[in-house]
Every structure is written in C-alpha cells, then in structure tokens.
C-alpha cells in the first residue's frame, strides 16, 4: 500500500512539490539553521579533514526528525491526505 502511494506521489510529481514545500517551511521555521549549527559542532569535533557524509547523516537525521515542528508535520500530512483524496476521487 505504501509503495502504491509513493508511486502515485512520484508519478504525479506531487512528491517533489511536497519536498519543496517542506524545505521552504523548514527554512522558514529555523530548522535548517539549527541543524547547521549542529553540523558545525560535529565538524569541529571530528575535524574538518576527517568528516564524512555518513558521519553527518548518522548524526543529523535523527536530530532532524526530532526538530521538525509539529505544525509543519501537520501541514505536510494534510497535504498528502488531500492529495490521496483527490486521487481516490478520480
């Protein structure tokens, strides 16, 4: 079921639109800046030369998930629901 929904989102291009919306919302609410300062701490701890993308992803992803504000999450969920409703109606 999840795969079908994903497929629909990708096929219609709604997924890209949702991602773009999420990115702007996260920038607006300061999520991105928070994560970036956190990145700096990580980089300073690890050293600029030794940092890898995997280190960053491992550190950032859980923190990113936790830091997303609830209203952004709600808005995103609402957008997905309305999309699915439109799809089911068709």
């Amino acid at each position: 079921m999840r795969a079908t929904i994903n497929q629909k989102l990708v096929e219609t291009g709604e997924r890209e639109r949702l991602k773009e919306l999420l990115r702007t919302r996260l920038i607006e609410c300061g999520w991105r800046d928070q994560l970036k300062t956190h990145c700096k701490e990580i980089v300073q701890n690890k050293g600029l030369e030794h940092i890898t993308v995997d280190d960053l992803v491992a550190e950032i992803t859980p923190k990113g998930r936790a830091l997303v504000p609830d209203n952004v999450k709600k808005e995103l969920l609402q957008r997905i629901r309305t999309f699915l409703a439109q799809q089911s109606n068709i």
Binding site: M1, R2, T4, I5, N6, L9, R15, L18, K19, L22, R23, L26, R32, L35, K36, C39, K40, V43, L48, I51, T52, V53, L56, V57, I60, T61, G64, R65, V68, K73, L76, L77, I80, R81, L84, Q87, S88, I90
Partner: protein, 326 residues
C-alpha cells in the same frame, strides 16, 4: 483505485503510520540534502567562512575597535607631508609647496617676471663662466655660504641674481636717492661704504667697502656710473653756455674731481674698466650733441667746443686713466 480507497477506509491507524513514514522519508531527504551541502562546503573549505563575525576577526587579527583610534590602536596624528621642489630641490611643507612653486618656477604674475629674468641671468652667467671671468667666482660661491640659514633661503637664492641684475641694469636704472646728491656727498659716501645699488630696493649698499655681498667689479661699476653722472652735468651745461669762457674752468674742475675720485677709490682697476672710462669720456660730447641738435645756435657751438676741448678732454681722460689704474 478501489483498493486504495478500501485500504484508506479500512485501516485508519495503519494509514496514519504509512503517511508518517512517507513524511519522515521526505524529512530525511531534506536533511540528507543539508548533509551533502555541509559536507561539500567542508571539503571545499567554505564551511566556516560565514561564521567569522566581527568580534572574532578583531580578536584574531589583534585589531582594536575603539572610538578615536584607528584599527591598529593608534591615535590619528597630523602628518606633515613634505614635498621636494623640482626646481631647487628644497624640502617644503605641503601647505607651502604651491606658493613656493609660484616663486621658484614663476607661475604667478610678478614672480614669472622675476623668474624669467633670473633664468636669463643664469644663462648669461653661465656664458660668463665659460669665458673664464674671475669676477664671477665670488658671485658663484656666495649662495653656498649663505645657505646655512634656512629661513633666509629665499634671500640667498635672490642674492646673486639681484646683484647680477644690478650690474647689468645699472646704466638704465635711475637712482632717485643719489641723483640729488652733490659730488662731494657721493664721494664721501663711496669712500666709506660699498655703495652697490640693489636692483630691487634701488638703494645703495651701506656696508663697508670690503662687504662680501658685492664684488669689486660691482663696486667699480657703481662708482663709474655715479661719477659719470657727475661728469654729465657739466658737459650738458657745456652745450648751453658759452664754451670759450667756461671750457677751461670746466675741464679743470672735471680733472680735479676725477683725481679726487681716483685717489679715493680703493678698489683695484683693470684694463677693461679703464678702457670703458676712456671710451665713455670720448663718446660723451657726441652723445650730448644729440638732444640739443635741433637749434642752430648749439650746432654752431658744438664744433668749437670739440676743437677747443678735444685736447683738454683727452688730457683729462689720460689723467683719469692714469689715476684709475694707480
């Protein structure tokens, strides 16, 4: 479609988790994008560029941010900029540079005249030097002696040129102060003082006969000039009055004056000066005849004057020549 609808309808909490997972996926993708971005900037070296704020920069570079001081912590001091004059190589404060240039290179109204004259005199002096004239050596050394005083440098610069100018422009420039003096007064003055007439002030030098500012040549010329003027007056009178009666007396007085003058003159004379004196004395009657040439009376008297006084004038010239050289 029906299946989707059904699934939506059937399992609402299941649907919720599915949507959550999709949303988490999107969030992860965004954060992954951020991670890529950060990593890239780290490897490029631009990551910490943005967070160098002003305070850190100042601490790092040891700069100071205080009112009244520049970034290096130094109080702004008024600096005296010095310029070097391209003409005379002197160091001058920048504020005085423009007025100095005016005088030195001759940009102003009056100063341009003075400067052009100076340049002309310099070239003349150079040619004189090449001719090997000993008299100019005094002139040449003079500025270097006087350069010790910085304040009087303008005078030092003007000194030789002005004296040079007085030398050259002597015959043309009238001397108002000494024009009215009697012969005896002039002689007394010339005995005690240097007497060289300055070109600028039109006044005589009142220093001693051995004054270092003027050369012997200048002194000699001044004496020639002044005493020639003395001798002018009787000659002019010569033309107007009856010569037959007065000629002897005039020449006698002239001879006396010349002897007196020559004996009082302490400066050594050279052959050129005596030549000048003789030529001038010989030429004088002819010169004097010109202004009075309009009337017949004077014309008639002139030849007699010449014939009568030619011997006596020659005599006086020879005596003066002799006395000058003594």
């Amino acid at each position: 479609m029906v299946e989707a609808d059904l699934s939506l309808m059937e399992s609402e909490p299941d649907m919720q988790t599915t949507l959550d997972s999709i949303m988490q996926e999107l969030i992860d993708e965004v954060s992954l994008g951020l991670c890529f971005e950060v990593h890239r900037s780290c490897k490029i070296g631009t990551f910490f560029l943005a967070d160098t704020d002003k305070e850190k920069v100042f601490i790092f570079a040891g700069l100071i941010d205080k009112p009244g001081l520049d970034v290096l912590g130094q109080a702004p001091t008024k600096k005296n900029f010095e310029c070097v004059c391209p003409s005379c190589q002197r160091h001058l404060a920048a504020s005085r540079f423009a007025p100095h240039l005016e005088k030195c290179m001759g940009m102003g109204r009056n100063s341009s005249r003075i400067a052009s004259r100076r340049i002309a005199n310099n070239t003349k002096r150079d040619s004189d030097d090449s001719a090997g004239d000993d008299e100019n050596d005094n002139d040449w050394n003079y500025p270097s002696e006087n350069k010790k005083g910085v304040a009087g440098h303008a005078n030092a610069a003007n000194g030789p040129t002005s004296s040079q100018e007085s030398l050259e422009s002597l015959p043309e420039v009238p001397v108002p102060n000494y024009e009215n003096m009697t012969i005896e007064d002039r002689k007394a003055l010339l005995l005690s003082t240097c007497g060289v007439i300055s070109e600028h002030t039109k006044k005589m030098c009142t220093r001693s006969v051995r004054c270092p500012q003027h050369t012997d040549e200048q002194r000699r010329q001044v004496r020639h000039f002044l005493l020639r003027q003395n001798r002018h007056a009787p000659d002019i009178e010569d033309v107007h009055i009856d010569i037959d009666t007065c000629d002897d007396a005039e020449t006698q007085s002239l001879r006396e004056s010349l002897q007196w003058e020559a004996s009082s003159n302490s400066s050594p004379a050279d052959s050129t000066s005596t030549n000048n004196s003789t030529t001038s004395t010989n030429k004088r009657p002819a010169k004097n005849s010109k202004p009075g040439g309009g009337s017949k009376n004077k014309k008639q008297k002139m030849p007699s004057n010449k014939s009568n006084s030619s011997a006596s004038s020659k005599d006086s010239a020879s005596t003066s020549l002799y006395d000058f050289t003594s």
